[in-house]
């Protein structure tokens, strides 16, 4: 295996070798290498196949803008990630990586046939080719395309990693740790302001890491960098975050930073998060994100071995890796000449520098001469050769008037290109700041901002180290001053500057047919210059449309290397200037970000709050099966000895109706309404009348929205003249309190009444069944439980089992029932005491499923199950709950709107299936005539449906148009297997005379 590592160059740790694999082959690199630099050091350029055409692709860049070199990474223990950019992935001992989008292997890939079938895949091919027949899309085209075109494979196992998040507030956030960012952070830090400096790379330094020969204030760049890092580390007010990408810039200087914590570690400490999302609120932001080099657009510019000149220079200077043994440089910009010089000085043969410009700065030409490098000024590149790696480049002179002369072929194993530099304005663009086109530099620069931020250095078109340092220092000082900290920025003296003039941005001239040139603009989405021209020929004029039609700039790299080239090609084709063609909007995240980072702590047990009642632990210990009810988990049923739900619920129902059941009702919403105007407030909120409700009595309360539809219900007890104990549905508790506060605060602020949530103050134990009173009598103090003194719908305060209680005699089952409220911390103990004493009655714990069945047998509705936000009290058969004489209550006026009085409104009714064993599906649609043609006229739907053990048959509730007037009528429920028929009945199936309530 060849070795392309150059002794004495680079910053990688030569004393720490690391072994890793790529496509099953073992390689070695050094600590500090990226996968890209380590592969290049081993002579590997071919790392993947392209998205559509499966063309062999190599490493284009040395940074996060990389469009080609995407790999799958395996960190062991199920940690697999697709589409990791090899140029940012740090190697470590044992890392396993693989190429993507190839089969059976990277070097022999069947899909490469797509490359020959260009016409199938050209611009808009999805839209044109797969229009017809429509049904083919799902079954044929889409699967085939998905197979043939694509990126890596998503992992199938759950992500084993944990993630973290953190909020931070600072005076100055500096994004980017290159020359400008460092200078900014140093100034802001010296001022005393609190500073966060983040950089996406593993090391702070940016382009300084690739500039060892530059001298800053008399120090070599790397020495200066070491001192600068030490200075920052010594400031307690400065936080430096390497491996941290600013992914999004949101309103009011809120910036998301993704910090990679453990991906680079060989051994991850147990429980350590993989990544952390920082949510930073900064008073001032300095964006110093630098610039990204542009490729040149010419035929064969995507062949492995063709890469950006600046990247080659970084691999040489930072990683000590030469990207080839014989290189050619093609450029329209000065900076690529420095790559040629550095490589030549390192012993690499530079076969030629091809500059498409007519003239170049004399000092560059002189330097090339001194290094005996052949220069071809005013030449163009018209093609490359080499199957899996570039082997030669075809170059032609361009004469006066743009005439392309005859070609010459130069052998090479790497072709370095530069089309100039694009300032990274992505985050500024996130703020909706305006951009202005700079014709000289052929680049967009930041215009008017909308946030407290400024840009510095190459990120706003100030190229060169001195400019970056001074601009950064000024920005850092200004930001600190705006945050209230004063400091005077220093001057910087820099030796060894690169030259930064150039022209940019047009497809290179060629002597060949442009219509056949495979000149790539967007490498990741496989978009060529001719695709963009085709889109223009077909009538697209705006870049937003061209982009969507050709997909240029729409890959995961968001067109970091391709946007300006795409614009230039479109601008040429449209014969309109670039600003008139427009620039597409950049959107967060700046680079692809894992879902885990966005989720943060919210995965596994912390995915969402799981609310548990004080009695939940008992239910768990006693084998309950749980179900989620809003954020709560509630016991659904308590299976015994291998029972299924059906058997368990039937047993539980029977126990309640025949003796005694115990139920945890703690999740019921509870609101304490207190104050001299409490009754008046209740009158206005609820449909019922409250003035005459005596203390110690309860009433069913029905709450509407102002639109007249049922919002919530519950039993409400009056504790005292000025104090009500309101209960709400489990899911409605917060909503009801919010609605009450809204009316109280904004409509009736004059009322002297206050609302307090007491949902969690009280544990609620519901006892139901003929033996309920017998069980609690010995435990209750201070309340006469006799039927006369404490009838149905009575409530009182006293003690039970020695602790305070609010005792309600209410029933949601139709049986004699009590709801025992005790302070929450005593809930479980009281429950256990009653359960123990209840053994002589065969006391049976039951869950929500049994509760649902028992209440349905009695025709008691559940708001949110039997109602859906479109039912009025009358629709639900609850007209009796409306205080007819009250002048007003929330929703009253709506009840007299014409459409609320229509005869064909859906009304709740009972349903009995013709086959008593059939339990209808909840939500099933109901029709009157099962033989009508499809689509049938649906007249209603099933809202509740259960097996009733009490009746030995199924029961159901349904909302049916004009249902109450259709009593006795047969309706039909078409289901996939058969059409069920059922008879409309009343809603009460069990004990219609309510004799059991006062058993």
């Amino acid at each position: 295996m060849s070795n392309f590592r150059i002794a004495g160059k680079g910053r990688v740790n030569r004393s720490r070798q690391v072994r890793f694999t790529f496509d099953g082959v073992d390689y070695t690199g050094y600590e500090g290498d990226t996968l890209a630099s380590a592969l290049l050091a081993n002579g590997v350029h071919l790392v993947g196949r392209s998205f559509k055409y499966h063309r062999p692709r190599g490493i284009l860049s040395a940074g996060s803008e990389e469009p080609n070199a995407l790999v799958g990474t395996d960190r062991g223990n199920g940690r697999f990630e697709p589409n990791t950019r090899a140029t940012v992935l740090e190697v470590f001992e044992g890392l396993k990586t693989e190429s993507q989008n190839r089969w059976p292997s990277l070097t022999r890939d069947i899909g490469a046939v797509n490359d020959a079938l260009y016409m199938l895949f050209s611009a808009g091919f999805y839209y044109k080719t797969f229009m017809w027949p429509k049904s083919f899309w799902d079954k044929v085209y889409e699967p085939v395309i998905r197979n043939a075109a694509g990126l890596g494979k998503a992992p199938t196992a759950p992500d084993p990693d944990v993630y973290a998040s953190r909020f931070a507030h600072c005076d100055v956030l500096v994004v980017g740790g290159g020359a400008a960012g460092l200078a900014a952070a140093l100034e802001a830090g010296r001022s005393g302001a609190s500073v966060i400096l983040c950089d996406e790379q593993s090391e702070i330094g940016g382009s300084l890491l690739s500039e060892p020969a530059a001298e800053i204030n008399g120090q070599l760049a790397w020495d200066w960098l070491e001192d600068a890092n030490a200075a920052l580390a010594g400031m307690p007010n400065v936080t430096v975050l390497p491996r941290t990408t600013a992914i999004g810039y949101y309103h009011q200087n809120f910036i998301g930073l993704c910090q990679r914590l453990t991906d680079h570690l060989r051994i991850v400490p147990e429980g350590a998060p993989r990544e952390r999302m920082w949510k930073v609120r900064a008073k001032q932001v300095v964006l110093a994100q630098g610039a990204i080099e542009k490729p040149l657009v010419f035929a064969g510019n995507d062949r492995p071995g063709v890469m950006l000149a600046g990247a080659a220079r970084t691999y040489l200077n930072r990683y000590g890796v030469k990207v080839g043994n014989r290189v050619v440089v093609v450029t329209s910009h000065d900076s690529a000449w420095h790559a040629a010089f550095d490589l030549a000085k390192a012993g690499v043969e530079v076969a030629a520098i091809v500059d498409v410009r007519g003239t170049v700065p004399t000092q560059l030409a002189a330097a090339a001469d001194a290094l005996r490098i052949r220069t071809l000024i005013g030449w163009t590149v018209t093609g490359t050769r080499g199957r899996l790696r570039v082997s030669s480049v075809r170059v032609n002179p361009v004469g006066a008037g743009g005439k392309v002369g005859s070609a010459e072929t130069i052998a090479c194993d790497a072709l370095l290109m530069s089309g100039g530099w694009t300032p990274s304005i992505h985050l500024f663009s996130h703020t909706q700041g305006s951009l202005t086109w700079n014709e000289d530099g052929q680049m967009f620069l930041p215009g008017r901002g909308k946030e407290d931020c400024c840009l510095a250095g190459a990120g706003k078109g100030r190229f060169g180290l001195k400019a970056a340092f001074e601009d950064g220092a000024a920005a850092g000082a200004a930001a600190a001053a705006d945050a209230g900290f004063g400091v005077e920025p220093p001057a910087y003296h820099v030796e060894g500057e690169l030259s930064f003039t150039g022209v940019t941005g047009r497809e290179l001239p060629t002597d060949r047919d442009l219509g056949h040139a495979k000149a790539f603009v967007d490498f990741q989405n496989d978009v060529m210059a001719k695709d963009i021209r085709l889109a223009v020929r077909e009538g697209f004029k705006s870049i937003e449309h061209i982009k969507r039609y050709t997909t240029t700039g729409m890959a995961t790299d968001q067109g970091k290397t391709s946007n300006i080239n795409g614009l230039a090609v479109a601008s040429d084709a449209l014969k309109r200037p670039i600003p008139a063609v427009g620039l597409t909007t950049f959107r967060p995240p700046y680079t692809p970000t894992s879902f885990g980072t966005f989720a943060g702590y919210n995965k596994g047990a912390l995915f969402e709050v799981t609310r548990k009642t004080p009695i939940d632990g008992w239910a768990e210990e006693n084998g309950a099966v749980f179900e989620p009810v809003s954020l709560w988990r509630r016991a659904r049923y308590f299976p015994q000895g291998g029972e299924d739900m059906h058997a368990a619920v039937a047993r539980e129902c029977k126990a309640v109706r025949s003796s005694l059941g115990i139920f945890d009702a703690s999740t019921l919403g509870k609101i304490e309404i207190v104050g001299p105007d409490a009754a008046e407030f209740m009158n206005r909120m609820y449909t019922n009348a409250w003035t005459k409700l005596a203390p110690g009595r309860c009433r069913y309360g029905l709450l509407l929205g102002e639109d007249g539809f049922i919002r919530d219900d519950g039993v409400i007890g009056r504790l005292a003249h000025d104090r009500f104990h309101v209960t709400t549905t489990t899911g409605g508790a917060a909503r009801v309190l919010n609605m009450m506060e809204d009316y109280l605060q904004t409509e009736w602020p004059d009322l002297k009444v206050w609302l307090t949530s007491t949902t969690e103050q009280w544990s609620v134990i519901a006892l139901n069944g003929p033996n309920a009173r017998k069980l609690i009598e010995p435990f209750v103090e201070g309340i006469d439980l006799s039927d006369g003194a404490f009838p149905h719908m009575a409530m009182a305060t006293g003690k039970i089992c020695g602790v305070p209680t609010r005792l309600f005699r209410v029933s949601f089952t139709g049986e004699l029932g009590f709801e025992i409220n005790v302070p929450a911390r005593y809930g479980r103990a009281v429950w256990e005491k009653l359960f123990e004493a209840g053994q002589r009655f065969g006391i049976t714990p039951y869950g929500t499923e049994t509760m649902h069945v028992l209440r349905a047998e009695k025709g008691y509705i559940i708001v949110g199950q039997d109602t859906d936000g479109t039912l009025t009290p009358d629709d639900a058969g609850l007209s009796w709950a409306i205080g007819k004489t009250k002048p007003d209550f929330v929703g009253k006026r709506s009840l007299s709107r014409p459409d609320m009085l229509a005869a064909d409104r859906k009304q709740l009714v009972g349903l009995l299936t013709a086959d008593p064993k059939t339990v209808l599906e909840e939500g099933a649609q109901i029709v009157l005539d099962p033989n009508q043609p499809v689509p049938m006229e649906m007249v209603g739907h099933v809202t509740s449906s259960y097996w009733s053990a009490e009746l030995g048959r199924s029961i159901a509730l349904a909302a049916i148009q004009g249902g109450r007037s259709l009593q006795g009528r047969t309706v039909h429920v078409p289901m996939p297997d058969k059409v069920h028929s059922a008879t409309i009945t009343g809603m009460v199936f069990v004990d219609p005379e309510n004799t059991r309530l006062s058993a």
Binding site: V162, A164, S165, R166, F167, A168, H169, L261, T262, P269, G271, A272, P273, K279, R281, Y601, N602, A605, L606, E608, V609, T610, R611, K612, T613, P614, G617, L631, W632, E672, V674, G675, P676, K752, V753, W754, T756, S757, T758, T759, E760, Q761, W762, C801, G802, V803, P823, A824, R825, Y826, G827, R828, A829, V830, K833
Partner: protein, 184 residues
């Protein structure tokens, strides 16, 4: 008396080796939500035996009793458990219209202490915890759970959270304290 049952699974999260962080369940207290017209705040303070704060976020404390103003007409009153009935009786005698509701069992307290306390809280609290004044408190969100946060000292915070949300807060603090112990 029956056994009280606390919602937190363990009572403490041990700190890291440098003891930069310790997290534990707080002792139970008597706790009331007082709602009253701010114009009557003096009379309420007399009933409570401790003057009430008059600024949202403000706190007063004397003799084991403390009052935290959470809203324009809302105070959280705390006291030793044994004083609960006495406080209820005192307010029952207060002539000014008001609402005093016992919420002693509604919430539980979690104490977050140590040099890294604020850092730990920053994992899930969106406002600037570091800038919070000592001796102040407010309602806010901790991840998805509503809490009342009190800064009792430079490095000591108290979280008061509805009991069914306590598990979630506790679990997240456990994850955070692991990070802090690892120095990551």
């Amino acid at each position: 008396m029956l056994l009280a049952n606390h919602p937190l699974p363990g009572k403490t999260i041990p700190g890291d080796t440098a003891s930069r962080l310790s997290i534990r369940a707080a002792e139970d207290t008597a706790r009331f939500s007082l709602r009253i017209d701010p114009a009557a705040v003096q009379a309420a303070g007399t009933a409570f035996g401790t003057p009430l704060p008059t600024r949202i976020g403000g706190m007063t404390a004397t003799g084991g009793r403390s009052a935290l103003q959470l809203g324009p007409d809302e105070w959280m009153l705390t006291a030793p458990v044994a004083e609960s009935d006495g406080i209820a009786d005192a307010f029952a005698a207060l002539q000014e219209p008001h609402s005093l509701v016992d919420v002693g069992h509604r919430e539980v307290g979690i104490l977050v202490e140590g040099e890294a306390a604020a850092l730990a809280l920053r994992s899930a609290i969106a406002f600037d915890v570091e800038a919070m004044a000592v001796g102040s408190g407010c309602r806010t969100l901790f991840d998805k759970a509503q809490i009342v946060l009190v800064r009792e000292d430079e490095n000591r915070f108290r979280i008061v959270v509805w009991r069914s949300f306590a598990d979630h807060v506790w679990g997240l603090l456990q994850a955070v304290s692991r990070e802090i112990a690892l120095g990551i």
